[in-house]
């Protein structure tokens, strides 16, 4: 297996990968007589923390979070989570049998989609969760060189905690407290994997950082925890996930992403989520933006059975700017409840929310958003635009816009449209030889274009192809 190099120090560190956990587990067995069991308990958390070799404060953090998680009731708004059985989930160690999946077990629908998207062999096995690490070693090492020269730190979260405890301790859980919501509490208790990124002052990274390039490739982690710290005047574009369908045996994926954009910094975080149709995807993502900083969330939701996700920006200092560009495509059997939150807590701050949601085949999509302007956040400017496209009579789209305004000197706008595919548009395109299917797909692609064009090209191309496949109804 490829070795992990600490950024800048050249020492090798053992990879905390699932495979190694299995090995570590055997040690743990002799020490704790621990058996992999579903469900969560303090014991599981203590053992997890011990195996990872974490400092005490992190264990305390986890336990405090777990206590809150137990107290907190399930949310009764948004998606119907009654089908989610929290006691039957394996939160950390999994029995051997679970780990050794084969290509044969992967659903045909997923395999077909890989075929249609032209995804290379090696990537398929990783995306399906059955293969070992994708060999991105050469690419990774070249980039690693560049990063360490600039003082950029890019590690998995476990590595980040180990190598840069001081920085992590300062920021971890400060943007999103465990008490924020039940699933933030859960993640805070059992998090594993995710990214830790630190960009020093003034460093502008030309190439986006991707989870792909992280040394340990547990890209499909259930409870990923990501912390991005971007110092004054720096620039970072981080890409999470990929458009290809990601198959997971696990029913629950509950990630937490915390971002700190220091004065004058600019951060863009792009996600295209395409979880398999068994997944409950409940995510808490929030950034704080300091003076003159800009935070942009690009959020694409195609997969999963249920998604609840509201990327947020807390505009804490003067001149901060936040943006959320969100696309949701809900197909049959899906409920995607997505949106944004913007909190203006300083004067001269601005925010822009653009949401495009599409529903097809009985799917249900929603925009749920909050714009909050605190008292004294003078000259706050905020504009929300949510457009919904409903493709047939069985499908549904809802809008839940919330505005909490405590300052009178502000400039706010909200526009919402709901439409179906125009007859005239369909006829126009068909009169040029496109079939009804092709014409509809083209209109849908045009609908989301203002957001897609902000994505890096390969993502835009793949996303468009994916939408096309969704339109054919041939994606699982």
């Amino acid at each position: 297996m490829p070795t992990d190099e600490k950024a800048g120090t050249g020492q090798t560190v053992a990879q905390p990968e699932i495979g190694n956990y299995a090995a570590g587990w055997h040690d743990a067995e002799t020490k704790y007589s621990f058996r992999a069991e579903p469900g969560l308990s303090e014991d599981v958390i203590r053992q997890m923390s011990e195996i990872k070799g974490e400092p005490n404060w992190m264990l305390d953090f986890r336990l405090r979070s777990y206590a809150h998680f137990k107290k907190r009731p399930m949310p009764r708004w948004g998606c119907d989570l009654s089908g989610l059985d929290l006691d039957s989930i394996y939160y950390y160690l999994k029995p051997e049998a679970e780990n050794s999946r084969s290509w044969d077990d992967v659903p045909d629908t997923i395999k077909d989609t890989f075929e249609k998207l032209g995804i290379p062999e090696a990537e398929r096995t990783v995306l399906a969760g059955v293969g070992a690490q994708y060999d991105s070693e050469t690419v990774y090492h070249n980039l690693q060189q560049e990063w360490s020269e600039q003082g950029v730190i890019f590690l998995d979260m476990d590595g980040g905690l180990r190598e840069h405890e001081d920085i992590v301790k300062e920021h971890f859980g400060k943007v999103i407290a465990p008490e924020d919501n039940k699933f933030a509490a859960l993640n805070s208790a059992v998090w594993s994997g995710g990214s830790f990124v630190y960009v020093p002052k003034g460093v502008k990274l030309e190439i986006p950082l991707q989870a792909y390039f992280r040394i340990n490739a547990d890209r499909a982690g259930q409870f990923e925890r990501t912390l991005l710290i971007v110092e004054d005047g720096a620039f970072l574009h981080y890409i999470e996930g990929c458009t290809a369908p990601t198959y997971s045996n696990e029913a629950l994926h509950s990630a937490v992403v915390e971002i700190i954009a220091k004065p004058g910094a600019r951060v863009r975080y792009s996600t295209v989520q395409n979880w398999s149709s068994n997944v409950y995807n409940l995510v808490t993502k929030r950034a704080v933006a300091m003076e003159g900083a800009t935070m942009e969330w690009l959020d694409g939701n195609i997969g999963s059975r249920m998604t609840m996700k509201y990327p947020a920006v807390w505009l804490l200092e003067e001149g901060a700017h936040g943006e959320v560009l969100s696309i949701a495509f809900a197909n049959e059997g899906q409920h995607l409840d997505a949106g944004a939150k913007m909190v203006h807590a300083a004067p001269n701050t601005s925010s822009l929310i653009t949401s495009k949601s599409i529903s097809k085949g009985g799917g249900r999509s929603a925009y749920r958003g909050l714009v909050r302007v605190e008292n004294d956040a003078e000259h706050a400017k905020s504009f929300v635009r949510c457009d919904a496209l409903i493709l047939d009579e069985d499908s549904r789209s809802d809008t839940y816009p919330y505005m909490e305004i405590e300052e009178s000197n502000v400039d706010l706008g909200h526009e919402a449209t709901v439409s179906k595919v125009g007859e005239e548009q369909l006829f126009y395109l068909m009169s040029r030889g496109l079939s009804e299917e092709e014409a509809t797909a083209m209109i849908v692609a045009g609908f989301i274009e203002p957001i897609v064009r902000e994505l890096p090209m390969e993502y835009a191309v793949e996303l468009n192809r994916l939408i096309e496949l969704q339109m054919e109804g041939s994606v699982g």
Partner: protein, 251 residues
């Protein structure tokens, strides 16, 4: 190429076409003129397969096929093209992307990106448009004249067999009119037929027709070779022609 007999059509229960007879041979250019509400645009839309209209009688033979039995996209793929009077906006869809899909939809083997964009850029320039045109979103924010030119661009790219121009001249200034007419004239060929639906005879001066027809109240009432009929309408108006025709019928 096209033979229409007794074509009748309604929209929202109102009968617009009351029995159209028309024959267009390969290579011919026909002008169809008529006052507002006469049904000339309706004829164009019905031929292209607009689902808003319901055909209630008559036949339309297109190169030996039953045109009325074909869906709009089928008609297009077999070579029929309508330049719309009011082209609709399709947000977010670039002209380049759209045309490429349209061209490839009627080919066995798709054109490569390079071949396609090379050809498209050439035609864009022929029409006096700048190269950025292909990146514009389809009709979005276009002026009336730009929309009409975009229709002709599409026609030039798709190379149809039967072209129907629905009031293409409205909204065009003199220069644009010249450029568009040149574009249409370059497309004249013995295998291609063109039907020009218009209010005014001006466009017909630029694109000399083989035959002209006048449509009144849902029927073609006069047909003549050449452009003379169109000129008479321009000088004397539709009313005069109506009276003339009524007199003739009585005689």
């Amino acid at each position: 190429m096209l033979k229409i007999t007794g074509l009748k059509a309604v929209v929202e229960e109102m009968e617009i076409l009351k029995g159209i007879d028309l024959e267009v041979k390969p290579g011919e250019v026909h002008g169809i003129m008529g006052p507002n509400g006469s049904g000339k645009s309706t004829l164009a839309r019905v031929l292209s397969g607009d689902p808003t209209y319901t055909v209630t009688g008559g036949t339309a033979d297109y190169c030996g096929q039953d045109l009325l039995a074909m869906e709009a996209d089928e008609r297009a793929r077999t070579g029929l093209f309508l330049a719309f009077q009011y082209p609709v906006e399709v947000p977010g869809v670039t002209i380049g992307n759209f045309l490429r899909t349209a061209v490839n939809s009627r080919r066995e083997e798709e054109l490569s990106a390079m071949e396609f964009y090379g050809m498209l850029t050439e035609k864009v320039r022929e029409l006096g448009l700048n190269d950025q045109w292909i990146n514009r979103y389809l009709n979005e924010g276009f002026s009336g004249g730009e929309k009409k030119r975009n229709e002709i661009l599409q026609m030039m790219v798709l190379e149809p067999q039967l072209c129907i121009l629905d009031e293409t001249d409205s909204g065009l200034d003199v220069d644009a009119l010249k450029i568009v007419s040149e574009g249409v004239n370059r497309m004249r060929s013995p295998e291609r037929s063109i039907i020009i639906v218009t209010h005014y005879e001006r466009l017909l001066e630029y694109i000399m027709p083989d035959k002209c027809h006048v449509i009144l109240d849902g029927r073609i009432v006069l047909s003549e070779e050449g452009i003379d009929l169109a000129r008479r309408i321009d000088e004397q108006g539709y009313e005069h022609v109506k009276k003339q025709q009524a007199a003739q019928t009585q005689a």
